[in-house]
Amino acid sequence: MIKKIHTSVLFVVTVLTISSLFSPNLFSDETDKKSRLLSKLADKKRFDETILPFLNEFCAGCHSETKQEADVVFSGISFDLASGEDMELWKNVLKQLHLEEMPPAESKQPEQYQKDAVMLWINSELKKSGNASDLYTKLESPGFGNYVNHEKLFSGEIRAEPFSLARLWRTSPRVFDNVKSSYGKGSKHFRQPFLLEDKIGIKDYANLLFADSAVVSVLMSNAASAADELIKDSAIASSSGSPSDAKLDSAISQHFRKVVYREPRKDELNNYSILFRKTAEEGGNAEAMRLVLMAVMLHHESVYRVEIGLGDSDSFGRRILSGTEMAFAIAYALTDRRPDATLLQAAATGKLNNSKDARYQVTRMLQDDRIEKPRILRFFQEFFGYAEAHKVFKDEDRSGGFAYYGENYPAMYEKDADFFVMNILEKDKDVFRQLLTSDEYYILNRATFRNTVYDFYKKNKRQLDKGQLPESKEKELLQRLNLKGWHELNKKYNLHNFNKGFNGSVAAIKKIVDEQYSWMNTKDENVLLHRMQALYKKYPMVYDLKDEEQDFLLPQPYKRPHRAGMLTHPAWLIAHSLNDSTDPIRRGKWVREHLLGGVIPDIPITVDASIPENHNKTLRERLFKTEQQECWRCHKKMNPLGYAFEMYDDFGRYRTAEKLTKGGTKPVNANGELTGTGEKNVDGDVKNALELIHKLAQSDKVRQNMIRHVFRYFMGRNEMLTDSKTLIAADQAYLENGGSFNALLISILSSDSFLYRKTLEPTTRHAP
């Protein structure tokens, strides 16, 4: 309560202060004030007639003075939201109703129109009090996408024509990295302005990212350092007389094209020119040019990409993206770069106007493996969350040799997982099932590449010593390294800087051979081929291999027992673990939300989420606390899935017994239960993670849920029911093409959801 009052005081102060600092025209006039005062009166009539009876009928059974379940009581709740009373409680009611969490399924259910009336009243009262529920913002985050009903989405009953809302999407940090050189020499001092939140899951989401003051402060200093360099070469800056309009326009246009990537409009040029003339008068040409260059660099289009839908409108009230908008949308969906020449050419010549054109371009880009498409692998990194393993610090002593100095083991396991994904994507067959079930892992480190090249040399020594390397042999080496060409080398391998330029030539091979000899200081073939640096000795342990059991030589993969796909990959298991233990609850939550499309409410603030200490019990036994009735309502959605992964320790090693904290062991219990697919042959008890995963991989619902996540990532937003047609078509494209991820992508990136825009008023976006 104290906090609430504090907020509203601050709010009033904000308005007062700003009014004293800024010009008066920014402020609401008299009439506005009056209407605000009037509207502040709470709507008690509706409360008495509609809201109170609703609460009495559907809520009071459990939340009354006599039966205060979850400490929630509605008797005597204040209708006067504007006074700040019971605000949190009302917000909670709104959320529970909207997300259909209350009343619980086993209780009497209100009709939709009754719920709508309550939600409408709460929203309007909140608005009067100058507050808003964070619910609607939250609903736009990836974690809330599952609230859109799965069965409806895939039922085929929805005939609406799909679209995205007209939108702004903040520049991605990777695009920024790739375009910054066009800002000139000063860009070497640039810092990243467009940071993404450091969390597991899809990060780059259009509706969640803003250019706020933290972004602007970095943009300002970047622009200043770029401008400082640019004015050194500017003829206008070094002249003293007033430049002609033509000269000034041309200088500004040149800079504008480089950073905003289009021709400036007449009015834009005019505004910059006014800024220049005004500033030049006060401070001279150099300072004026500096400010104008900065202003161009701060242009809103280098901060937000604008996807309004500038193409033709159709009879459904939608507008298609213009050619240029489409070129950018496709480029940014697949790459971290601006559109390539072919895309721009198509846009300029009217060949990028419809779904067929988009399909042609996306197919072209997917087929050309010279075009880097880092966004595809990044989807799998963010979806599975395995690329966060290096952030979970594990104790070196407890692990029996995890290394963090020099090279960081978990970061290397992530690269192994990347390799696993990339190879499945290259085959492009039955992709989701393969990702979930394949037991063929790649176990690599920097020595893998060198040792393999050395091995290749030994096997072809005669020819190579003569300086010969026939094409067929080069192909053989590429194949062993799982490469289509040398341009892929650094995409797949994390090499030492001095090996990064390797090009498969005889000289390059011999350089590596010489390095092997000089570093190992031996001619012992066995050592040269198989010995790892001491640093890597313990590396294979998470794959249940002994120190000396494998030599990392390519070709790989290694078939590993007791494993099935990404969810049993050490990188995933580490990323989804705690510092000193496994994490059945969050693992279960991950499976529930990412594969089964389930929803799990936030942990209630009244719950103490700590696990009781007990040196004689396994973690699972200690988690028994969560199986109490009031916890189990939510935990039953997570624990039975997460427990199945107890067959691995928190480093990802297979185990049959769990070490207790103060010595001793107990047998692992990895029994679990799969619920929620609604498919008879899938739901049911499982004896461990392997059985769980193989069942998941058979499920239609699991496949469709993965597709929903692909949609979210590439669209940068959550699906709506109106996206039904797009999702069904995507699912069909995937199935009809033998589980091809490319086919799925082509379908999504040429869908109406991707290509059409509609403008809706914010109030009609979510409000019931």
């Binding site: 601050l10 964070d134 913002t137 939108r167 202003a295 510092n579 914010p762």
Partner: protein, 461 residues
């Protein structure tokens, strides 16, 4: 700014997880409404490289006293400081020495990078690694906003870097996840950035400050015009952008209104600010730090005092800090360290003296300031993390039972041992952030059951 826009921004910020109102703007608002905060808390963090050897800062009287199993807590005011710290004798009533706190959750070696004030393991030999959270100095800056919320001044950059001057990223302070605080490595540029709004070494600086208003005004007008073409459902995003430039306008006008105050307290511009002699540059940065605090430009300064690559030639030293750490050179490591410590003590004393000369409330500015002298590699050249010594000068507003005390915590792993996570938690708690525990816990201590993970109770008032 209209009512609705604030409203929208507020609801947006809930979901976006970003602060759309900077702390500074919030403070300006409070002050304008007559709710001026009481005297601000001020902090200076002085970060040296190559470790602070605990023995070197221990008064003779307290040496050899066993403290392995219990806290050793003594009055410092009636014992003699080590001779290398003599310059600090006049400030002994406001001096404290804290030893024995461990930091094994941070990286050892040449630098713990952000670990020292962020309490986690990060980085490698040359690379500062990931920024996972705001470091404690930055957290304190957020609690004590000012026109320049957090000033970073550097003499050198990253631990082993040869980089010199200009904007630097030494990898020690972060304002948030993924966001490093930029440090200014050139005193002349720092002078212009901090004091340029009122006085300037060059005419250009003053002019630039004045003209900058044109840019802010242009951006605000421009974005307002564009907003009309943006669908109303997306206006919040443009509002966030617009709001940021309006904030810059506010800061600009605030600095303009402080002109006299800033001019009166700006250090006289001498060739000190363009010197290439390291010891002189240190002096210049210290002068800037003191003057910025006194002028009210900032409440928190972090100074990167030196790095492993730097050589104290002016002090007659012939080896860089790295060489000294590896026992090279004509003198012993202890002898070198004594010379350098004497110099550092003088720098600190000079700053303390300046702050003490400014009356404030019932006392002076030093009463409300905390100068924390610490190292980025704990107890020695290749830090072990076994203990992380601190020397603190200033009354800190009376929020901690520190002034005039000497404290040595039990050895690592012993009962009652505490960590630097507990130390920063103490500071944050004392100055307004009631966080339960700041940073990563020491997992080994946790497993042994000897981790307290909370504020140091004996220091809390």
């Amino acid at each position: 700014m209209n009512f609705t826009r604030r409203d929208t921004l507020k609801s947006l910020s809930l979901g976006a997880g970003s602060f759309l109102l900077t702390p500074f703007l919030r403070q300006v608002e409070l002050q304008a409404a007559g709710n001026a905060l009481a005297i601000p808390n001020r902090f200076v963090f002085v970060v040296k490289s190559s470790g602070i050897v605990p023995d070197g800062i221990t008064p003779e009287a307290f040496k050899g006293k066993d403290s392995s199993s219990s806290l050793f807590n003594r009055d410092l005011t009636n014992v003699l400081l080590p001779s290398s710290m003599q310059a600090l004798e006049p400030f002994k009533d406001q001096l404290s020495i804290v030893q024995g706190l461990s930091g094994k959750m941070c990286r050892g070696g040449h630098s713990s990078w952000f670990g020292m004030m962020g309490v986690y393991m990060t980085g490698g030999e040359f690379d500062a690694g990931a920024v996972i959270r705001a470091t404690a100095d930055a957290e304190l800056a957020k609690l004590n906003p000012a026109p320049f919320n957090h000033v970073g001044l550097a003499i050198k950059g990253k631990a082993l870097s040869k980089a010199y001057g200009g904007t630097m990223y030494p990898g020690i302070t972060a304002v948030g996840p993924g966001q490093e605080l930029p440090f200014q490595g050139s005193p002349d540029i720092a002078y212009e950035q901090l004091f340029g709004s009122a006085v300037s070494a060059s005419k250009r600086g003053e002019k630039r400050f004045r003209l900058q208003k044109n840019l802010f005004d242009f951006m605000v007008d421009d974005i307002k015009k564009i907003k009309k073409a943006i669908p109303s459902s997306e206006q919040g995003k443009m509002d966030a952008y617009l709001n940021s430039f309006e904030e810059l306008q506010v800061r600009h006008s605030k600095l303009s209104s402080m002109k006299d105050q800033i001019a009166a307290n700006a250090p006289g511009y001498t060739d000190k600010f363009t010197s290439t002699v390291e010891e002189v540059r240190q002096e210049a940065q210290f002068d800037l730090a003191s003057a910025s605090l006194i002028a009210g430009l900032t409440n928190v300064v972090t100074i990167r005092l030196d790095n492993v690559d730097m050589t104290y030639k002016r002090l007659g030293i012939d080896k860089h800090n790295h060489g000294i750490g590896h026992n090279e050179g004509s003198k012993t490591q202890d002898e070198y360290r004594n010379i350098i410590r004497t110099h550092h003590s003088e720098l600190l004393a000079k700053m303390a003296k300046k702050l003490r000369a400014v009356p404030e409330g019932d006392g002076n500015m030093l009463d409300n300031t905390m100068i924390v002298f610490l190292s980025d590699s704990s107890d020695r050249h290749h830090g072990s993390g076994m203990e992380w010594p601190y020397v603190i000068i200033g009354g800190g507003g009376g929020k901690l039972k520190l002034p005039g005390r000497y404290l040595r915590y039990p050895k690592y792993g012993e009962k009652g041992c505490r960590t630097i996570g507990d130390w920063w938690t103490t500071l944050l708690n004392a100055y307004g952030n009631p966080i339960k525990y700041y940073g990563n816990e020491d997992l080994v201590l946790k497993q042994n059951g000897s981790s307290h993970a909370g504020p140091l109770e004996e220091l809390m008032v």
